[in-house]
Each structure stands twice: as C-alpha cells, then as structure tokens.
C-alpha cells in the first residue's frame, strides 16, 4: 500500500554565512509514514526536524529529494491544485500565540480556513467551526474572545481546531506541547490521541522531548545535524537505543523518580552541536561521540537495518558507550 507520506533523500539547503556558502538544514533524510500512524521525530535545536516538518506540508520547498503524499509529489501540482491538496496536510506550531491573529476572535480564526476554501455557506462554516471548538473542549463562550483573553492551553486548543476544520489526513505537530505546563500538556496529549482515533489522523510528531515523543508515537526517528541517525518502533528505541546519540539523549533526560529506581548509566556528551557552516566530516556525530574511533572521522556510516524494522547510521551501532564516558546517575549528596 502506498504510504500516506514518503520522504525520499530530502535535502534543504539555505544560503548562509559568507557568499556562496550554504547551510544544509536537512541532508538526505528518508522515511515513510503509514496511514493512521504516529511518527515521532526527535532532535535538538538545529537538527533540522522542523525543516522536515515544513517540507512535509509544502511550506518549504526541498532543494533535493522528494516529498510524496500518497505517492504524489505535491510540489509538482499546479498552484490551484496545490491549494486544494494541502487542506489534507496541516501543521500546528509550538507557540500558540504566534499562530493566532491577535485581531481575530477565536471563532474567526477557526473559521478562516473554511472561508479561504469557500466551503459551504457562511452559516455552515460558522457551525462547523463551532462544532470543532466544542470537540477540542473550548466552550462556546470562548469563541468570541480574542487570543490575549484566553490561556496558553486554550490557545493551543484553538490552533488544533483550526488545523482540523479543513478535514486533514495528516497533521504535523511541531513542538505542540513544549510551551505548556505538565498538567495541561497531559490534557493536550490525551486530546491528540482521541482526535486521532476519531478522525483517523496520521501524525508527524516533532519534539525535543523524548518522553513526550515516546509516549505518543508508534515509531520514532532521531535526527542529528540534518540526518537521521536512528529509526525504529518507539518502545524498542526507548528500551534499547542503538545509536550512541540516542543513548546520550535518553540518558540526559532527567527522570522524576527516587534515586533507588534509577539504574541507568549516564552518558554526558562533551562539547556542543557543531557549526552548520562546517559540518564535521565522516560521521557528523564523531566530535561528540563517546565511542568514536579514528575511522568515524573519515567514513560516513551507512544507513542500515540492524534488526527487523530498526535502522541506524553508526559503524558501531549497539556498542554500549565506553565505561570511561559513563558514570552512574547519582543525586547530589
């Protein structure tokens, strides 16, 4: 069956730095997402995860490779056809404030996609927007409010309603809960799960928060510096990460449990994410990698399937980080 979304050796280069220099924000990323799946993308700032998300909904044009929606290249569509087509592929951003027009009421914002698409009569569009607000648990009383009059969690609900009204098949969720407090975050993750079942949605769920991505996703991909370093079923990747970067990310995530229940080894990465203008040669992670060998600086590791459905780009995938680089996670005395 044709996947709802396929990304094939996607490349996005931006002009940057001095003349003729380019920054490759995304450099050869491939994956496919099945209908109804939640596909998580994990990465730190600068990894290119948001750029991938923007390409998927045609907000950024790739400079190489392809995005395929149900086998079709949306960038090849004529303008008018693309406008109709992209209703099926929506995106929700991190900052609920920036995504809503401060001069529009919540109802106007949620109705706007329908107005633009000229779907139904004005009254029908209004009813549909109100129904969607109700579905995301925003009371009718809030519909006439302006964004500054409601809370961050309520604004994010309005954004969800706005993304849902055109009837999308796939939604890119880019750090949608990062700005929210934990109890509101929990509500929001529950809402995303309910909506997925009800509307048979497919999610591309982008976040830097491993715990959130692992909770909602069926499969996860880990990005580092414009490339995928690992991909696999969420449970398996969390339980047994194969790439040293995934291992480091997992171990750096602080766990809110008493010390006696913490039995993992921490891998503290040295150094910072390198400059995008001069990516390291060979494996891009070798400058920070706790198990790097000389060949890692020269030879770029191949993307390979090391176990069924588990992909990784590392010469030494599955090797535990060396003892010198790890230490038991002990709380402060």
């Amino acid at each position: 069956m044709t996947p709802i979304l396929a990304v094939e050796t996607l490349e996005v280069a931006f002009p940057g730095g001095r003349r003729n220099q380019v920054v490759k924000a995304v450099d050869g990323v491939s994956f496919a997402v099945a209908q109804g799946e939640t596909f998580g993308v994990i990465g730190e700032s600068g990894s290119g995860k948001s750029t991938v998300g923007r390409c998927v909904v045609c907000l950024t044009a790739p400079t190489g490779g392809k995005v395929l929606h149900e086998g079709q290249d949306p960038f090849a569509l004529p303008r008018e056809a693309l406008r109709r087509h992209r209703r099926g592929f929506q995106i929700i951003f991190q900052d609920p404030n920036a995504a809503l027009d401060p001069r529009m009421t919540i109802l106007e914002s949620v109705r706007e996609p329908l107005d633009v698409a000229r779907i139904g009569t004005a009254a029908e569009r209004r009813d549909r927007a109100l129904a969607m607000l109700d579905r995301v648990a925003l009371s009718a009383g809030l519909a006439s409010r302006y964004p500054h009059e409601i809370s961050g969690g309520q604004k994010q609900r309005a954004n969800i309603a706005r993304a849902l009204v055109p009837g999308p098949k796939l939604i890119v969720c880019d750090e949608v809960v990062a700005a929210l407090d934990v109890s509101i975050q929990a509500d929001m993750l529950n809402l995303f799960a309910d909506l997925q079942r009800e509307f048979r949605l497919t999610y591309l769920f982008i976040s830097h928060d491993l715990r959130v991505v692992a909770h909602v996703s069926d499969r996860v991909a880990v990005m580092y510096f414009g490339k995928l370093v690992e991909l696999g079923p969420a449970g398996a990747v969390m339980a047994e990460p194969l790439h040293p970067y995934t291992q480091a990310l997992l171990s750096a995530e602080p766990e809110p449990v008493p010390a006696r229940l913490r039995n993992r080894q921490r891998v503290i990465l040295k150094g910072e994410i390198p400059s995008a203008l001069s990516p390291p040669g060979g494996c891009r992670f070798h400058t920070r990698c706790p198990i790097a060998q000389p060949e890692c600086a020269r030879i770029e590791p191949a993307w390979r399937e090391v176990a069924p459905a588990r992909y990784v780009a590392c010469h030494f995938a599955g090797t535990p980080a060396s003892p010198a680089a790890t230490r038991p996670a002990v709380p402060a005395a």
């Binding site: 929990a186 715990r211 449970g235 766990e255 809110p256 910072e272």
Partner: protein
C-alpha cells in the same frame, strides 16, 4: 500561618523565609500574589522549587533578592539571610548583598547579558562593584571563573561578545558571573529551560559540582520534576502563591503528601505506559483575583471535602511540611508506582 521555627536539628539555616507575602497594589486593585511563604535553606544545600507557571516561584526569588518594583508592591514577612533580615535593608545595603552574598542566574542568558559589552567587561564589572581590586586582578578572577565553569579557552572568551556564544556557553558565562564573587547562596531560575537536553545535562552537572566544591547553597527554580529528582536534596511545591509541600526529594517522590504534588508527578508521560491516557489535573491555577477562600487547590482536587473550604495551614510532619489537613489519611501515589 507560619511554620514552626527551629525544625532543622539545631543548625542555623543560611536563609530563612517566614510568612513572606507580596501584594501588588496599583491604586485600583490589590492582588495578593504570594501568601505566607515560609521555608529554610541550609548552608550548602540544594533546594528545588517546583510548580506550574503562575504559582509564585519566580516571584519568591525576586522577593528574596529585593527586585520587586517598590512603587506598587508591598512585601511583608521576614527574609533572614546570614542572620540579617533582608526585608529591613535599605536599597544601598541590599546592593552589597545582591551579586555578592546571593548570586542569581535567570532563564534566558541572552537577555541577562548586555550585548554591547564583552564577557570580560561584564564579569569584571561585577568583581569591581564588590571588591576593591585592580582591573588586571579583576580580569584574572574573571578568567579563573570562566575556567571553573568548563570554558576551554577562558582568555579568548573574555574578549568575546555574547552574540558569538552558543546558548550553553552563555549560560556558563552567566554561572561564572554569578559565582565570581563566591556567594553563599545561588538562586537559579529555570537555568536550563532554554537549552537542549544534552547541554542541560552538562549545565546541571556543573551547578551541582560547583555547589558541592564551593559549599554554595542552591535555590533551584524549575518546572522540571526530573531535574529536581536528580539534583536536589529537598524540594518545595508551590501552588497559587503558597508553599503546599516541603520535604526531602526522595520522600516526596516516593510518597507525596499533597494532592497537587501527586498530580504533577502523575501527569508526566512514562516510558513503560506508552499511549495510555495521562492523568491530568482538571482546571487551572486560579488568578489572584479569583483565589478560592479556602484551600487554594480545593476546586481542582479529587480529594476535596467540606473542611477544605477553610484556609489550610502548613502542617509539620517531621522533616516534611504539607498544606493539606487530609495528608495523614490520603495515600497518594508517588513517582515509583
């Protein structure tokens, strides 16, 4: 209602906050934002303050530092630090404490650093404000401070402007600046929130290591319970301008006494329960205008009963304190279950 004094086994606390209340008064409205906040910080201790946005965590830090706007802010209560009540100090006297005896680090290192001065200028300014030393001596101290926070080339770093540093480097510079005068207490307000998780781990390790090496106490404000679990000895949960729970981190994580702390712990996604429905806390933090008269958490609490309509004092339970009269009978799930 204050908490009883002298609970801390005979030691004199470094910082002792008692019945701290803050009221904003703009002439039209009086908004009580902090109410009867009381807690201690021992010398060298690492104490975490957790709670959601709007619960008064940062306001508590600003009150201790005397950084609230004087015009429309009324602060009452005592803030005894090194035996002196900071609440009674003049602005001039407070300037000698702030930055010298109490250091501070804020969330966003880019807004806290001045973009038009070099790193060296900014650190030496701090040193020369508090010590009568030469420029050269001050610069040497700045270089030593940068080296102590793990900056590889401190001599080059002092020449640099904040914009040419990464987020993690900027936060290291902030820490160096806060620690160059060797304060006894460091208040860190969300110091890693703007950073990536691998850089966050580096910065937290650095803060904990510096605290144990120099004996500096750390008051660590965060919404991240994981960071508190891994780095603090004791934690306070704040809700709606009050401390609702206070105790050793291990005890609280194992068995929280306040339903709000338990609710925060339960709402975190867990690796072993993927795709399950997350328990959330219904409702939201009340604004100061709509503060419930009784227990402030009451309207959102699953365990609320009629007596919760009365204001709750902070009850002492050995090393622990809790603002809930039902804490004896409630068995709340901790992070372990």
């Amino acid at each position: 209602m204050g908490r009883e004094h002298g609970t801390s086994a005979g030691r004199t606390p470094l910082l002792s906050v008692r019945d701290l209340s803050v009221v904003f008064d703009d002439g039209e409205r009086r908004l009580q934002t902090l109410k009867d906040v009381s807690f201690d910080v021992e010398p060298g201790e690492i104490v975490g303050i957790v709670g959601e946005s709007g619960c008064g965590k940062s306001l508590t830090a600003l009150s201790i530092l005397g950084l609230l706007p004087r015009r429309n802010c009324v602060r009452t209560g005592n803030i005894v630090f090194e035996g002196r009540d900071l609440a009674g100090l003049s602005e001039a006297a407070m300037r000698k404490v702030r930055g010298r005896r109490i250091g501070m680090i804020f969330q966003e290192p880019m807004t806290a650093l001045d973009p038009v001065f070099t790193v060296g200028d900014q650190i030496t300014e701090t040193v020369r404000t508090h010590f009568s030393v030469s420029r050269i001596e001050a610069l040497d101290r700045a270089v030593a401070a940068l080296a102590s926070v793990g900056i590889a080339a401190p001599r080059q770093c002092v020449e640099m402007y904040p914009m040419s540093l990464s987020g993690g480097m900027r936060q290291r510079v902030m820490i160096a600046m806060a620690l160059v005068c060797e304060p006894r207490l460091l208040i860190a307000d969300e110091p890693t929130t703007a950073l990536d998780v691998t850089i966050q781990a580096q910065i937290m390790d650095l803060l904990v290591e510096l605290s144990s090496r120099t004996g500096t106490a750390l008051l660590f404000i965060t919404h991240n319970l994981g960071l508190v679990a891994e780095s603090c000895a004791r934690m306070l949960t704040m809700y709606a301008g009050q401390v609702v729970e206070d105790g050793p981190v291990e005890d609280i994580l194992t068995r929280p006494l306040h339903p709000y702390t338990a609710g925060l712990l339960a709402s975190l996604p867990r690796a072993e329960q993927r795709k399950s429905k997350l328990p959330s806390i219904p409702g939201r933090v009340p604004s100061p205008e709509e503060m419930p008269p009784g227990c402030r958490f009451g309207p959102r609490c699953t365990y609320a009963q009629p007596p919760c309509g009365e204001p709750q004092p902070l009850f002492g339970r050995g090393a622990r304190h809790v603002r809930c009269w039902r804490s004896d009978e409630l068995i709340l799930a901790g992070a372990a279950t």
